[in-house]
Amino acid sequence: MSEIKQLETQILAAIAASDDLTGLEDIRVSALGKKGSVSALMKGLGQLPPDERKSFGQQVNGVKQALNQALGDKKTALADIALAKRLASESADVTLPVRTGPLAEGRIHPISQVMDEINEIFADMGFDIAEGPDIEDDFHNFTALNIPAEHPARQEQDTFYFPKRADGSSLVLRTHTSPVQIRTMLSRKPPIRIIAPGRVYRIDSDQTHTPMFHQVEGLVIDEETHMGHLKWVLEEFLKAFFEVENVQMRFRANHFPFTEPSMEVDVRYKRVGNEVRIGEGDEWMEILGCGMVHPNVLKAVGYDPDQLQGFAFGVGIDRLAMLKYGAPDLREFFAADMRWLKHYGFGVLDVPTLAGGLGS
């Protein structure tokens, strides 16, 4: 019996000592192969007395099992070692910089971003977004807005003109987004609540003026909307846009031909470095113009000013972007300088939402 045990001990020692898969296979064959030492033991089974055969057989099977287990474990261990060795040889310099992909490269222009923010706020207050052409005729840009042919405003607004046409009239590049008011009122029935963001053009060029810039027009027309509503809408808009608890506004009487009463609105602010803090400080800054739609404008689109009324306002989008995000020079907005766009632009996923916040 000890012979079997001895053989088992011997083979187990060999397995333990083995350090490669080939040697291990050799051990397996020499022990458990057809001509192997353990298999040879079974050959002697027939010569044993019948009463010993069973226990002998069990003993040999036990050895076989133990050897198979040991062989399997050793194989796994050797495979692990081999893998570890291979992996060790495969190590890379993990500090090598990688490309961060297109999302990290792409940018949204601050004006597009701010327009998205504005849309988000006004959509929540039930405003549609209306549009109109940049090349306008006299009627929509001036006459219907209560700016008659000889009105000084036509000069003061520094209008870009196109060549005179056969009928003596000239088309213009719209000087404000207000013609969209006219187009909207002519094509829809009240109640109307719209904003109209877009490009406008005036002959002007310095650090805070470019010959093209962006405005958003607001218009509400129904039977009941008054200046109290106008104040509320502007206050809610400014609070939401600048993301501050309080916006202090100051309404100054002013004059625009297409509104009456007309007002300019200042907001309280403080300048800290290149940051403008709205709602703090002692300074006032003009931020928009507004008023109740002039009866002559309502008449021009066939509305009855005794029945319908409402307000309109206009805000410079570029200016809002400059104030909120601190870009100092308006001309840079349209220079397409990659360095500027990368710095002031927004990431693709910075989608302004009321739920997630507007500012990025």
Partner: protein, 803 residues
């Protein structure tokens, strides 16, 4: 419009401070643009009286003064020869910044004697160059009184912005009226007196062109002594930026600013015969007071005597008939000129003046005679003389407008605020309106100096600007729904999505000008006369862009010059095929240049970005179309891109024969050369307006049921030898058509041209994925499909399967 505080107080009886006055002006619509308060500059200086003056123990030219500063007496060492006991002058205490010597005073020891401040000279206060001694005032003012107050340097100048609807505020009295209404004081009585004069005016007046000048009044004053006007008048004129000339001219300027009533004075001895307002005649010209000669025509209103044009009505008088210090007889003109005609004339001649500024906005037509009386009175005060009777020609164009106003109701309707009739009436009366209240209604007579007021809304505006918009309660706009409804149109959503998608593909959004150089526009099918600005700011910005591409290419050139060589830009915006609203279209345009791709730009250890080519931008287009709801399996790609693209390496993406969705490709080197852009440049333009609008599926958002199988897909590869110009898509579509049920996808995985294949051949290799739907495919079934694929492709393309 400028005036000084003391000038304002000639008309306004008020206790309000400068700050209160300025705040009220700004809020009520006369925005204060600047305040120049000299008192601020001299705030530290007070009257100091020298109580005692003793020689300095160690210096011959110095004295030691004891100065009463009103706040105890202090010791001051002083070098001025005129310093003496009893002198009153300007004392600057320790801590004062003395601008004339650019120094802040400290306690000092001068030759061993302490000095606590300084008695100043005029030069030290920057009042004059006088420095021979310290200021020596003859004044009763007590020590400690602010120096600026004692010498009258405490009159701040206020500058306000005047909106075009407020000609009445172009006179100080009009400004005062607004402040009275705002509750800041009382309007002082108008000191106007009427002088009857003696004898008819020997100079007769005619108005020959009543449309241009409906009324003209004048009178002659003989025996005047013209010379410099008095100090008070000169000071006021200087404060508002006018140069004093002589008493007669200064008088007209003063009344222009005081009352918004322009006048003109002629040296009567230089006039020949009668005077008339008439239309100019072609060929006439005159030498104006600004020293320039102007040619007039029949559209302009001139003032002429029997021999020549004297001046332009309502704009500027002539040099030759002007008053000088030698003038002894003066003819005063007080007329009314049509605002539009005045404005047009001024613009045509590019001639601005205080008179034009007022007449083109609308001078009070009822002030013609009063203005003449004011002038008479002032001439008599300043220059003496004997006036004739007044001569008037024509008739003042008075509006005599009365507006019926349901005051409370209309105020409430437009503002939402309740204001009593009494308060409304008070505000209107203060502003010079005459109000008669009867029941709920008011009859409001509009003063002639308010040409901007036409109807009830204007009256509400008057009341609300005085009442204060800040006092109107805010009212929430009625909510249209609980949760806000979506408002964007499909196009607006597509524009916004296009931006995010392109930025997501690594392109950077630019916004470029809508107008570009005409030379650039013509390279892209633009540059037509109709879309060329008549008055561009420069030739680089004169043509409405026919496409977004030239603006982006110009931007690339600028970026390259700054060292940005590999990048990608895009713009989503409007371009113009013509000048009509329907000619404006919205597109998304992207340009990749240098080594640039989805993975990044330029060189990298993991592999350099490749030079951009048509497939980069084709991928941009297709990705964009997918995200904008277009099934890209249904589009066609043709080779007829516009001629600014490389003819062999560009394409057009179409939907059916008519709809062009996009152009893409490498750009034509010839065009790039003309735009001075070099290197690899590929671009695309996708026409958002051309995308079909998806059919609405009602309100349902339910997707179709998902049909999938657990059976394994099978892939088989095929290589075909086809003609060099066979479109790959033909091979793909033929393969797809072989068995529409089983074939899930066809993917081109190799395209190869080489001499071994023959000069006019190429090899296209496709991988066909078969997706069984009932049972695993048998070899036989697979072979059958493969045969069909080969047959379909060879039939469609004339190609052959490669062994």
């Amino acid at each position: 419009m400028k005036f000084t505080l003391s000038w304002l107080k000639e008309h306004l009886d008020t206790k309000a401070s400068l700050e209160e006055i300025c705040d009220a002006l700004t809020i009520t619509g006369l925005e204060v643009e600047g305040i120049d308060d000299p008192a601020q500059k001299f705030a530290a200086y007070v009257i100091g009286e020298v109580l005692d003056a003793q020689p300095h123990p160690d210096a011959d030219k110095l004295q030691v003064l004891s100065v009463d500063t009103g706040n105890g007496s202090v010791q001051v060492v002083c070098g001025a020869p005129n310093a003496r006991k009893g002198l009153k002058g300007a004392f600057a205490p320790v801590g004062t910044y003395v601008s004339g010597i650019d120094m802040t005073l400290k306690k000092a020891k001068i030759r061993g004697v302490e000095s606590f401040g300084m008695m100043c000279s005029e030069r030290e206060l920057e009042l004059s160059q006088e420095h021979d001694g310290i200021i020596d005032l003859k004044t009763d003012a007590k020590p400690g009184t602010p120096y600026a107050q004692v010498v009258g340097l405490d009159d701040p100048t206020i500058e306000i912005a005047i909106t075009p609807n407020r000609p009445d505020a172009l006179g100080v009295r009009g400004v005062a009226r607004d402040l009275v209404a705002a509750g800041l004081g009382k309007l002082k009585k108008d000191p106007l007196t009427q002088t009857k004069g003696q004898g008819d005016c020997p100079i007769k007046i005619e108005v020959d062109s009543p449309d241009q000048c409906p009324v003209f009044a004048g009178r002659l004053i003989t025996g005047v002594k013209n010379g410099s006007s008095p100090d008070w008048l000169q000071q006021r004129l200087k404060a508002v930026g006018l140069r004093p000339i002589n008493a007669l001219v200064d008088m007209t300027n003063y009344i222009s600013y005081d009352r918004g009533r322009p006048l003109h004075v002629y040296d009567a001895d230089k006039l020949k015969g009668h005077i008339r307002a008439r239309a100019g005649k072609a060929g006439e010209q005159f030498l104006a007071l600004d020293g320039e000669s102007y040619k007039v025509d029949e559209r302009m209103c001139v003032i002429a005597d029997d021999s020549s044009v004297l001046g332009l009505g309502g704009i500027m008088g002539g040099e030759e008939s002007g008053c000088t210090s030698n003038t002894t007889s003066v003819f005063i003109e007080s007329a009314w000129f049509d605002p539009i005609n005045t404005a047009m004339t001024g613009r045509r001649l590019n001639l601005m003046s205080d008179a034009r500024y007022r007449f083109e906005r609308g001078v009070d037509p009822s002030s013609v005679e009063d203005g003449l009386h004011l002038a008479t009175q002032m001439v008599l005060d300043l220059c003496g003389g004997a006036p004739s009777k007044i001569e008037i020609a024509g008739k003042a164009p008075l509006r005599k407008l009365t507006i019926e106003l349901e005051a409370k109701k209309q105020f409430k309707r437009l503002t939402g605020a309740a204001l009593s009739e009494k308060k409304i009436e008070k505000i209107l009366e203060d502003l010079g309106f005459k109000v008669k209240t009867k029941g709920d209604g008011m009859k409001v007579k509009v003063p002639e100096w308010r040409p901007d007021v036409h109807g009830p809304a204007d009256l509400v505006e008057e009341v609300v600007r005085i009442y204060g918009v800040d006092n109107i309660p805010t009212t929430p706009l009625r909510a249209l729904s609980g949760v806000a409804k979506p408002v964007l149109t499909i196009r607006q959503k597509r524009v916004s999505r296009a931006r995010r998608l392109l930025a997501g593909r690594g392109l950077v959004e630019a916004i470029t000008y809508s107008f570009i150089a005409r030379t650039h526009a013509s390279l892209f099918g633009g540059g037509a006369d109709a879309v060329e600005l008549a008055n561009p700011i420069s030739s680089d910005m004169s043509s409405m862009r026919p496409s977004l591409m030239p603006g982006l290419l110009a931007a690339i050139k600028r970026n390259r010059a700054r060292g940005v060589v590999d990048a990608a830009l895009f713009e989503v915006g409007q371009s113009y095929r013509g000048d009509q609203p329907e000619d404006q279209y919205v597109s998304a345009c992207g340009i990749r240049f240098g080594q640039n791709g989805m993975d990044g730009s330029g060189r990298h250890w993991s592999g350099n970005a490749h030079s951009v080519d048509l497939f980069d931008v084709k991928a941009d287009c297709m990705a964009l179309l997918c995200q904008l709801g277009i099934d890209i399996n249904k589009v066609q790609v043709t080779r007829d891109a516009p001629d600014w693209y490389h003819p062999g390496r560009s394409g057009v993406i179409r939907l059916g024969p008519k709809i062009i969705l996009a152009n893409f490709g490498e750009l034509h080197p010839g065009m790039l050369g003309k735009m001075a852009v070099s290197g690899a440049v590929a671009g695309f333009e996708l026409f958002i307006d051309n995308l079909p609008v998806p059919k609405r599926k009602g309100t349902s958002h339910t997707r179709s049921a998902l049909e999938i199988t657990d059976l394994q897909p099978v892939k088989r590869d095929f290589a075909f030898l086809v003609g060099l110009d066979t479109p790959a898509i033909d091979v793909v579509r033929a393969a797809q058509s072989a068995d529409k049920k089983l074939i899930e996808a066809v993917n081109v995985f190799d395209s190869f041209e080489g001499e071994a294949l023959g000069a006019d051949k190429k090899s296209l290799a496709i991988e066909v994925t078969l997706l069984p739907f009932e049972a695993t495919l048998t070899d036989k079934q697979i072979e059958e499909v493969a045969s069909k694929v080969i047959a379909a492709v060879t039939k469609a393309t004339g190609g052959e399967i490669r062994g």
